[in-house]
Symmetry: C2
Subunit: 337 residues, 2 copies
């Protein structure tokens, strides 16, 4: 039996799973941004009809999953596995969303890289011969994140110029073992990279080295280059982290001219007061399950590389003076096998 | 291509991976308990030489992984993947432990079921043809858990009779695609089960229904019964949750007379003032990677079922009046394929 692992960090899927359905839901501010017409549902007041922000976040994840299942023409009971994660302590956004769904459940924590971690695990599981259908969901909510990571909203704290805005968003993708594509063909799993950044208001800088590391591994492992893809999407480095990534890759001799960042695309940076852009598990999850996959389906791109990044610190580790470990996973998606 | 999923929640591994090495490290109190001689390292003051309890927990996880790799005769660089989790907000116990290890990393959150979730994912990944070596680690620390979930240690809060004691412990297992066993032959992935328990000091009661649900699924999916196993280990229901599980199964027509619970075994319940027993990701992880696997290796048992349980709530969800969602995964381990 041969291994489907190639190089040091990459799995080449022998029978690439299909992305059979995808959907997203977002909050009001996100719905006023440039990607508005790529969202399946925009809530009017970010509550999603719930009495606490945490319950709102669970409701978002549940709704995104329901919409994605619908597009895939499947019911939740068809799912063999559900992979889910979020930013909340003990990942309650996901576990409360999965409660009552009756699906075998894997809770993940990859910070803002969670959608990528889920896609990696779901595609390896299906390609490995385990089941026919899997779902991946991830979410974030501005109001749950602010009070958990920063200050109560009522405090009205000022934000530094390097900060990002946690998106109120959830994305869900349904993977099928067989189908017409788009296909997940290769997945590169990130190592933890920590270059000593301690400023929790500059997470783009903390995550850019991880993105660089995983991309280099992906190109080495697969023999590909940035030009192998129509577009390379990171999420969510923001504007500053994106510049840093391009520079880091350039120092490694790699020119990347087809790059866009989900955090930089989510909002109108000039006019929506988000400083360096969007962040949160739901940011790149909702950009993938809207703008990116919709455009692939419409024929705009044939091959893309989706590289979500995460900052694996906590308020406690930051208070204790620790630097911020970053991680990035890379998922190659193609309209052909 | 046939599926290796059987029934509704179980994967039957076609080429069962081997547990090639395992190790654990624990704190002082755990080292004074009945399982003392099954631990690889017992720390004298629970600091593991670090300046904060969170750093101590990371050090534990790192040390357990190093010892397990050593027993498997491998270096960290041989690992294709590392699956890790803990109870801390944003799972910093794991991500800081993995920093500098240079291994592709998957962060998991399954509360006290995390060791099981990791074993499920690692064995499906290797059986699926992705790589040759994987590691699974999980940890908990009494002092990090107390201040995060309950009250500062200095407060000296009293504990209710139904409460459990978070074990200061970490366990690590190294899985290999080929080897002489013991083998992971079947894994049953839990659904989230919530019977409305809201008392966070009675987590055994919250988790017992999840254990019952997953065991029933395992027996249905595999055509097995409790008697198919020499021993069935849950972790960590504690004494009260264990009684409840036996009763719940009896109502379903299943007599289970070969059951033991890692939480009930970790401490001397009568004399160590732990009320209903041990808990925490590290509790069942260290009992598996010591008492259980050592005894299998010594020939005491040929087939066991390892069923770690998790309570997927958070202090925030509890404050908001939410009940406690439980989960349990079941891992069948055998000395023969």
């Amino acid at each position: 039996m041969t291994t489907k692992k190639i190089g040091t960090q990459t799995a080449a899927l022998a029978n690439p799973p299909t992305l059979a359905g995808w959907a997203n839901v977002v909050g009001k501010k996100e719905g006023e941004g440039p990607l508005a017409d790529t969202f399946d549902y925009i809530d009017g007041d970010d509550t999603f009809g719930e009495s606490t922000w945490e319950k709102s976040e669970s409701a978002m994840q549940k709704q995104a999953l329901g919409l994605a299942l619908n597009k895939a023409g499947q019911a939740a009971k068809a799912l063999d596995w559900l992979f889910a994660g979020d930013l909340l302590n003990q990942c309650i956004g996901s576990s409360f969303a999965a409660r009552g769904q009756e699906v075998p459940f894997f809770g993940l924590y990859g910070a803002c890289s969670t959608m990528g971690e889920g896609l990696v695990l779901a595609s390896m599981t299906l390609d490995g011969g385990f089941g026919e259908w899997a779902a991946v969901t991830a979410s974030s909510h501005f109001c749950t994140a602010e009070r958990q990571y920063r200050t109560p909203l009522e405090y009205g704290g000022q934000r530094t110029p390097t900060s990002q805005w946690t998106a109120t968003a959830a994305g869900a993708a349904i993977l099928a073992r067989e189908g017409p594509g788009p296909y997940i063909t290769h997945v590169t799993v990130g190592k933890i990279v920590d270059k000593g950044i301690t400023d929790t208001n500059n997470m783009g800088a903390a995550m850019a080295p991880a993105a660089c590391s995983t991309m280099l591994a992906h190109f080495n492992d697969t023999g590909r280059s940035p030009n192998s893809y129509d577009m390379i999407f990171t999420g969510d480095l923001g504007t500053l982290g994106s510049e840093l990534l391009v520079e880091l890759l350039r120092k490694e001799g790699i020119q990347m001219q087809n790059h866009a960042d989900c955090g930089s695309m989510m909002f109108d940076i000039e006019n929506q007061d988000v400083h360096c852009g969007g962040s949160g598990c739901g940011c790149c999850a909702s950009v993938l399950t809207g703008y990116i996959l919709n455009n692939m389906k419409a024929g705009k791109w044939k091959n893309i590389l989706f590289c979500p990044t995460g900052a694996l610190h906590s308020p406690t580790s930051a208070f204790q003076g620790e630097s911020i470990p970053g991680i990035c996973h890379a998922i190659a998606i193609s309209t052909t096998k």
